[in-house]
């Protein structure tokens, strides 16, 4: 069952990032406001362009009429007041609707999870150019699980909402967390702590990416949210909490990995590798992609990445270590065991 679900989750990588395909209550409510304001502005657009075209047509007829200058009209106070008051009224109504939506989608400082819900709390740390997730609490239980780039969340069910509360921080420059189908974006600003939330009943993968320019590889700071069946999510979380598997067959690879400077930046829990500067690799193989979503997590891509990250993601902060072919094979083999 679990395997089957995993397989279905895999297949639903929708490439749709449209703000008009909401999959969460707040994205839905923003779409409603968007449609309303599009209708209002569309109406004003038609009126103004209509008057413009009408004036042009009338004036061209008049142009043929004669030599004399047309009557000079200096202005009219009642007309001026009329076209000031009408838009004011529209703005006032729009303002009220905007305020209502604001309170629907923006977390306030006093907001609590609804009763009967199973909330998940995760801290998201923006880093040049990848995402770090620290799982803190799910359904009342404390966790301390660190992973990267692919955010797994439990999907909601009828009567059991599973809201996801994100605490947003940055380790370097300003980033912005944005998964259009789930919620509007919120910035990750160094020196500040921001909050956002979403929940979704839809199972599948939701794509997003960093939405604030953050340096060379801003374009490839991709992110994905995987909304799993709750049971599947719990299994995933429990697995992530474990230290790395230690397969005897990969012992040589492990030695090669630990002998290299990989360990200065990367952590593999349960080994001496405790770097915190780069993605946690403890369960690397539970992720579908590498390089924050740029390439698939396959043996070939992993080897290509290790051989020269700058070829895959030019400008990224992982240098090329010029590993020998033998080390490349060994380390790739070892990392492939980190399920």
């Amino acid at each position: 069952m679990g395997l089957l679900l995993f397989a279905t989750t895999d297949e639903v990588v929708s490439q749709n990032l449209s703000v008009f395909s909401p999959a969460s209550p707040q994205a839905e409510s923003i779409r409603g406001l968007f449609v309303l304001v599009l209708a209002i502005t569309g109406g004003i657009f038609l009126i103004v362009e209509g008057v413009l075209v009408y004036s042009l047509l009338r004036s061209r007829r008049r142009a043929a009429a004669g030599e004399a200058e047309p009557p000079q009209v200096y202005g009219s106070t009642p007309i001026e007041l009329a076209w000031t008051a009408a838009p004011l009224l529209i703005v006032f109504v729009l303002f009220l609707v905007v305020a209502r939506t604001e309170w629907e989608v923006r977390p306030g400082p006093e907001d609590q999870p609804p009763p009967g819900s199973q909330p998940l709390s995760v801290t998201v740390i923006g880093r040049q150019w990848w995402w770090e997730y620290v799982y803190e609490k799910y359904d009342g239980r404390e966790w301390h699980v660190t992973t990267a780039n692919e955010l797994h969340v439990p999907a909601s069910d009828d009567g059991v909402p599973r809201p996801v509360y994100l605490t947003l921080k940055s380790a370097d420059v300003i980033h912005s967390f944005w998964v259009p189908r789930l919620a509007g974006k919120t910035d990750l600003i160094p020196g500040r702590v921001n909050r956002t939330w979403f929940q979704t009943a839809e199972r599948g993968v939701f794509l997003g990416q960093c939405a604030e320019f953050c340096g060379t590889q801003h374009a490839n700071m991709l992110l994905r949210v995987v909304a799993d069946e709750p049971a599947e999510f719990e299994r995933w979380l429990a697995n992530e909490a474990k230290p790395a598997v230690d397969e005897p067959a990969a012992a040589a690879g492990k030695r090669a990995f630990l002998a290299q400077s990989c360990v200065n930046c990367h952590a593999v829990r349960g080994t001496p590798a405790r770097g915190t500067y780069a993605p946690d690799l403890t369960h690397l193989m539970s992720r579908k992609t590498l390089a924050s979503g740029m390439v698939a997590n396959s043996a070939e891509e992993l080897r290509r990445w290790l051989a020269d990250p700058q070829q895959v993601k030019p400008g990224c902060l992982m240098p090329s270590f010029k590993l020998s072919d033998r080390d490349l094979d060994l380390i790739t083999g070892y990392l492939r065991t980190l399920r």
């Binding site: 202005g75 259009p180 160094p190």
Partner: protein, 548 residues
Amino acid sequence: MATAVPELSRERLSLVAGLHEWVVTVDHKKIGVMYVLMAIAFLLIGGLEAVLMRVQLLWPRADFLPPLTFNQFFTLHGTTMVFFMGMPILIGMANYLVPLMIGARDMAFPRLNAMGFWVTLFGGLLVYASFFVPGGPPAIGWFAYAPLTEKTFARGPGVDCWALGLLVSGVGTIAAGVNFVATIVGMRAPGMKLRQVPFFVWTILGTSIQILVAIPPLTAALVMLIFDRHLGAHFFDPQAGGSAYLWMHLFWFFGHPEVYILVLPAFGMISEVVPVFSRKVLFGYEFMALATMAIVFISLGVWAHHMFTVGMSRTLDMFFAGASMLVGIPTGIKIFNWLATLYGGKLVLKSPLLFALGFLSMFVIGGLTGIILACAAVNFQIHDTYFVVGHFHWVLIGGTVFGVFAGLHYWYPKVTGRMLSERLAKWQFWLLLVGFILTFAPMHVAGVLGMPRRIYTYEPGRGWDLWNQLATVGALIQAPSYLIFAFNLVWSLRHGELAGDDPWDAWTLEWATTSPPPSYNFESVPVVRSRRPLWDLKHPDDPDWKYE
């Protein structure tokens, strides 16, 4: 000895003397022309950067430009178009026109005026000098958010070139603002009340006030940034207790009024062109002036609508959303008054009006997408996407650029004594209109489909390809229109029809003097009794002052 000077060297001497005259001039007209020429040169450079970026975005995962180069180009493109194209072309035209329109001999402070131009030009050159420093131009975006600008993340001197360039040119802009206020307030022709100046002068007064309020905070922020980078200060460095958030506020406190600095003068040009080419007086002058000042005031309180996603409180979000929507009211008043001026007029469909009509039909759209963006919750979704890129280009090209082209076609005969070629102007207009729509309309769609701004490449299969390809085709259609314009400027200088003093049968004072005007502008300044002194002269039986 004198007879021994060969012919060639005498020619060279006169060339040097000619150049020297331009370098040392304090004549507002020469300074105005130099501003405009500088702006056009930077327009072509900034435009080339844009075209190269559009080529990179033609296909997903393309590698026409490396990531760093692309990021440097969008930084330079934005900086160039705002600081070294937009403001200089408007300040230059105002420099040329304001003294003529109010019957003055020059600006209030001619030497300050010259200094303003030269520091603006050298500011621009300083920014571009970053091509020759280690690490090359800055890759920080025109908004230069901290801490990406700190030494930790931007080691090379590119950011310093950028900061110093803007600092220096900002001084020039502030000088121009002071000068315009002093000129407009103190140097009007005898009899001309402030409520009788040509409408363009009102908008320059509004723009100057905004310059004086908005540019100094930017200057201060740039000084703080330079302190951070070189003197060990930590204003914007969160690692050492500084605040990245502070830079945002300082920058946008400048950055939003800046948009109105760039568009108000274009409003002014439209307000001159539309009446003359529909042969009617400007409808509702007082309300237009009031609306201009309302825009000046309200737009000083909307800056944080660039910051809805930084996690402000809901109350602050609503304040800035409300204020931003409110700016739409005076802007709407202006549009309605222009339409009312057109209505019942006798249209003269020459190039200035063509561009003015382009402005009227396009600027409305940019204004309305602005209302959409002001809705805070919608902004959470489309902020920092291509929707925003589409929106502000629609305002700055559909508004400022179309307005400026209307103005340049209208006043070129005054400056040179010759008419621009109408034929070339029509080619330019239609290529610009079609290319502009095709470039920027698809960007709105890409943004709504989730495409963020400032990305050097994008993933295939997200439905963004087509919209990017249309935008690139649009850019390639647009590009020649600017080249045609540049060619027309040069070609008509020699081959254009002779213009005479008043080719458009217009009504404001600049048309009362010769084309081009003498260095002292007017031999004798006519006494002004109304907003249209030349209408009064041409229609002694039915003068304007009877109705004002």
